[in-house]
């Protein structure tokens, strides 16, 4: 007989083990789906998870994709820890890219060491501005931040589309929906010859360190944690709820905006229609898979980044649609949430003899 018993306390070991269990279950289920769809499951999984990162170039691509995911997820963890559901990071990324791209275009064909910092700062400010909309509406108008931040994603993509097709499009660009190339001074330097990994990764690492410090070493981090557990307790303790809501939104907006900067000033060096393959949404999964812990988020961003690369490789070699990446991303989150059950409950084996 197996009986389900409630734990006296959530298990801390299981808290960090379940993400691994979730990844394992996702692989099993993914193999099964490949099998049902008529692919050889092991071969498909190999193309999905091993082939893409088997060489130096692949590994650089992995870091390239993990960088924005990590950066955004770190920002989101500020929001999620304090019970603020910002799911519009994709919009904040896009708007950050728009603002920093606009600034970079102002410095067209100009060089100077001061340009890049201004461009980066512009991206962070753009993301913050965009994130402040749901934050202000939530604090002062009691508006649901989930829906507002999400609606703004669509709006930001349309603004970008308007700009790159219309006023900002490259005058010598044969009507391609893209801007001029930014000057070298406005671009994040590439780290290695022939690889696309760029200095944006240091922004992500800085975010990891800073967030760790804030979460575990400051009063603000403590306040966020308390508000996350219980808003009532937070109010009772006299925390300024409104201020904190706005602050966490601004932090996560800045991180998403910086991710946007990395996407346009890195290897691409111009604004174009699709600055992000839904990094902003995928980062929500990364934040959860990383357990809202800075170090966990690093690992989670690498794991989830593989699904992007794997989807591309599998599309090329096995004609599996690239949306398969999202199937894996969705499944990881399903299994992770499901295995949270083990945090609070345990299975007890009882001998059936009386």
């Amino acid at each position: 007989m197996i009986k389900i018993v409630k734990r006296d306390q959530p298990s801390r070991a299981i808290f960090f083990l379940t993400p691994i269990l979730a990844i394992f279950l996702t692989l099993v289920a993914g193999g099964l789906i490949f099998y049902i769809l008529g692919f050889k499951p092991f071969e498909a999984l190999k193309f999905f998870f091993i082939v893409p990162i088997a060489d130096k170039y692949g590994f650089s691509e992995l870091l390239l994709k993990a960088t924005p995911l990590c950066l955004i997820a770190i920002g989101l963890s500020f929001c999620f820890k304090s019970n603020n559901w910002n799911i519009g990071a994709e919009g904040q990324l896009t708007f950050g890219a728009i603002v920093s791209g606009g600034v970079a275009l102002l410095f067209y064909e100009q060089e100077g060491f001061y340009i890049l910092p201004i461009v980066i700062l512009a991206g962070a400010i753009g993301g913050m501005l965009y994130a402040s909309i749901p934050a202000i509406l939530k604090t002062y108008f009691n508006t649901n931040e989930i829906l507002v931040s999400l609606m703004l994603v669509y709006v930001s993509k349309l603004i970008l589309d308007y700009l790159v097709v219309g006023p900002w499009s490259n005058p010598e660009g044969f009507n391609f929906p893209e801007t001029r190339q930014f000057s070298d001074s406005a671009r994040l330097p590439l780290l290695f010859e022939g690889l696309r990994i760029h200095a944006g990764i240091f922004l992500a690492l800085a975010a990891v360190v800073i967030s760790w410090f804030v979460f575990y070493k400051t009063y603000l981090g403590f306040q966020m944690k308390v508000s996350g557990f219980s808003l009532k307790t937070a109010k009772y303790a006299g925390y300024k709820g409104k201020k904190m809501i706005i602050l966490v939104f601004l932090i996560s907006g800045a991180c998403a905006g910086l991710a946007g900067v990395g996407e346009i000033t890195g290897p691409i060096g111009q604004l174009h229609r699709e600055v992000s393959p839904d990094y902003g949404f995928t980062a929500i999964i990364v934040a959860f898979l990383g357990r809202l812990h800075p170090v966990g988020i690093i690992f989670a961003s690498l794991v989830v980044a593989i699904t992007y690369l794997g989807a591309e490789t599998a599309q090329i070699f096995m004609q599996i649609p690239k949306y398969t990446g999202q199937v894996f991303q969705g499944m990881i989150l399903f299994f992770l949430l499901a295995s949270d059950y083990l945090l609070f409950f345990k299975f007890k084996f009882i001998s059936s003899k009386k």
Binding site: T143, L147, L150, V155, L158, T282, Y323, T324, L333
Partner: protein, 310 residues
């Protein structure tokens, strides 16, 4: 310029047609939310319905199998959500997001072989009556059965919630799961049922898109309608009749945008496309400002897990 009165009728009819998927999905989600469950997976369930309907229609050739199959697919996919949130007590927001991401991915995987295949003609009712009444003729007649069902659904939903015993139970579970449970109501069972019902309606909404509205399969063809449907539920303050009004406004914005482009109004197309999203935000702000009103109309336990300790 002479405006043909039947032309106005046709425009109104096309607005209604674009409102149909929003009404279906919103009314389904409204029941789910009334039972206290927030399912953010509408977009995912809708796209699953869209591909299932289209695929079944192409494979079996039967429209009836396709429509009901799409609803069943919505039910099946929402079962994952129900199992996670009700049995394993997971967070509603995260689970719903996972459902949407998963749904978009899996629909594209299934739909790979159905891209570029032309759809079938879906039969319309009362075609012959279209020209009998000016203005009203094109509005009232010549639509698919799903169309008529969608416009009846808000009234059915309203009647169900207000006048039937099961409707009362659903509301009780949403407003106060503890007392409902004390009255001997199986809260979990009611919520399961409401989630699956919501799934079936989202599935139907998707099928309407891929089989009737634009009869073909395109990856990601729901294009955010599921999210608008979610916003509409809030917009309506959980009142099904107001969903009808909201869906017409959104349908209207979509259609007017086409016509403004056609007559050469010089507004960037992106601005017009963005309008429904901006309007949703404005409406949300306006209705949420009155916190007393929104508290009175929001199901009290919305989005909160309920677990009876053994």
């Amino acid at each position: 310029m002479i405006i043909d009165i039947n032309f106005i009728g046709l425009i109104i009819a096309s607005i209604m047609a674009s409102a149909v998927p929003l009404i279906l999905a919103s009314c389904g989600e409204l029941i789910t939310e009334r039972s206290g469950v927030l399912n953010l997976g509408v977009e995912g369930m809708m796209i699953i319905g869209a591909i299932s309907g289209f695929a079944l229609m192409t494979v079996t050739g039967s429209l009836i199998i396709a429509v009901f199959g799409a609803m069943l697919a919505g039910v099946l996919i929402s079962t994952i959500f129900a199992f996670l949130t009700q049995t394993l007590i997971t967070n509603h927001v995260a689970t719903g997001l996972a459902l949407t991401i998963f749904g978009i991915g899996i629909s594209a995987m299934i739909g790979k072989n159905f891209v570029g295949i032309p759809g079938k003609e879906f039969p319309v009712l009362f075609e012959g009556l279209k020209d009998t009444i000016p203005l009203l003729g094109p509005i009232l007649f010549g639509h698919s059965i799903v169309f008529y069902f969608a416009f009846a659904l808000p009234f059915i939903t309203s009647y169900f919630l207000k006048k039937t015993k099961i409707g009362l139970i659903v509301r009780a579970v949403g407003d106060s799961p503890e007392s409902a449970s004390n009255q001997g109501i199986n809260v979990r069972l009611v919520r399961y049922a409401c989630i699956l019902y919501g799934g079936s309606m989202s599935g139907l909404a998707g099928a309407y898109l891929s089989m009737i509205y634009t009869p073909q399969w395109i990856e990601n063809m729901t294009g955010g309608r599921g999210w608008i449907a979610l916003a509409l539920v809030v917009f309506s303050t959980w009142n099904p009749i107001k969903i009808l009004i909201g869906a017409m406004i959104f349908g209207g914005l979509t259609i007017i945008q086409f016509h403004m482009q056609a007559i050469g109004v010089r507004i960037p197309v992106q601005f017009l496309t963005a309008l429904p999203y901006i309007v949703t935000i404005v409406v949300l702000v306006v209705i949420s400002r009155d916190s007393r009103k929104i508290r009175l109309s929001t199901p009290s336990s919305l989005g909160k897990s309920f677990h009876k300790d053994n």
